[in-house]
């Protein structure tokens, strides 16, 4: 197998790609191609492919570039929106995590104080008078249902609402 080819290969290729074969080449080159197997293959294959290309190019009907341009613009726009939305979604998830941690901490605290409150309830039948106003205020203030708990709960609701609104908007 002679991989380096012959000395004429470059010239034959040049003539073929310029469309000069066989009219615009020297007798010497024609004689060489007739004798050299590699160059004969080159001529046969290149001429066949050139004819095939010409036929295919002239036969095909291509669409308008405008539709492709628009498609590309839309894809780029969607990619840009996705790029922007990714950190926002990350921030939402982070906020959700923080809120969940606050809620768990608050619930743990409430559970601890709830035990004391239940003990108070058990003692309720033994009481001589039932003071509902006093009971409510004791639930709110004494057992921990104070603003310290209520405010993060409201903040959590607002955040969850924001996440829900964002997800709904993104789906649209």
């Amino acid at each position: 197998m002679k991989l380096n080819g012959c000395a004429y290969e470059k010239e034959v290729t040049r003539v073929l790609l310029q469309g000069g074969w066989p009219a615009a080449c020297t007798d010497e080159l024609r004689a060489h191609v007739a004798a050299c197997r590699g160059c004969a293959d080159l001529v046969l294959v290149t001429a066949s492919f050139q004819r095939e290309r010409e036929a295919a190019v002239s036969a095909v009907r291509i669409g308008t570039p405008g539709a492709l341009w628009w498609r590309a613009q839309l894809r780029r726009r969607n990619a840009a929106v996705e790029r922007i939305a990714r950190p926002i979604l990350g921030a939402h998830l982070f906020a959700l995590f923080i809120c969940a941690a606050v809620v768990i901490a608050a619930l743990t605290d409430q559970a601890r104080q709830g035990v004391a409150w239940l003990t108070g309830l058990e003692e309720l039948p033994h009481a001589l008078t039932l003071n509902l106003g006093g009971l409510w205020s004791s639930m709110l203030l004494d057992s921990g249902w104070s603003l310290v708990v209520l405010l993060p709960a409201i903040a959590l609701l607002v955040l969850l609402g924001g996440v829900a609104a964002f997800l709904a908007w993104e789906r649209q």
């Binding site: 010409e54 295919a56 002239s58 570039p65 492709l68 590309a72 613009q73 894809r75 840009a80």
Partner: protein, 188 residues
Amino acid sequence: MQRESTLPQLLVGDAPRAAAAPMDSDAFAGFYERSARPLWAYLARVSGDPALADDLMQESFVHFLCSSWQSEGEVASRRYLFRIATNLLRDHWRRPRQASIEEIPEEFFADAVNSAQADSHAVLGPALALMRPRDRQLLWLAHAEGYTHKEIAEITGLASASIRLLLFRARRKIAGLLREQATRPGRP
């Protein structure tokens, strides 16, 4: 065309500069006009499926426009386009085959084709069909498009040093097939 050239910019808005269009819509229209047919011919003859070539050609142009490729002249842009098309074709071949009517090449349904195309394809088509897809790619890029070994390596992602050997073998094989076909009895 005025509408097309202004609205996309509004749509894209403040998109990062890296994703800026490599060319405006007018330049793209010219580039498309000059490059679409050769690209389609490459895809159609290498895949053997004109319908697939239609799809991949459109997808190649969309990928080209979406890429951050900065135009370095038409020749380089076209080479980049062929590279995209080659990758898409490779992805298509790697995907599991689906047996649906969409997958059947249109040639089987076509009842009237251009006679010059039919003659040319009747000669090269059967020989090309017997070649491996990679060999078809190499042969088309080298002999139909006239790319150098270095450019073919850039388009196909193959090592530049191996192109010469692969191309030599593929050329020898298809030349044998073409000669065999020419001498086969029954052929005019």
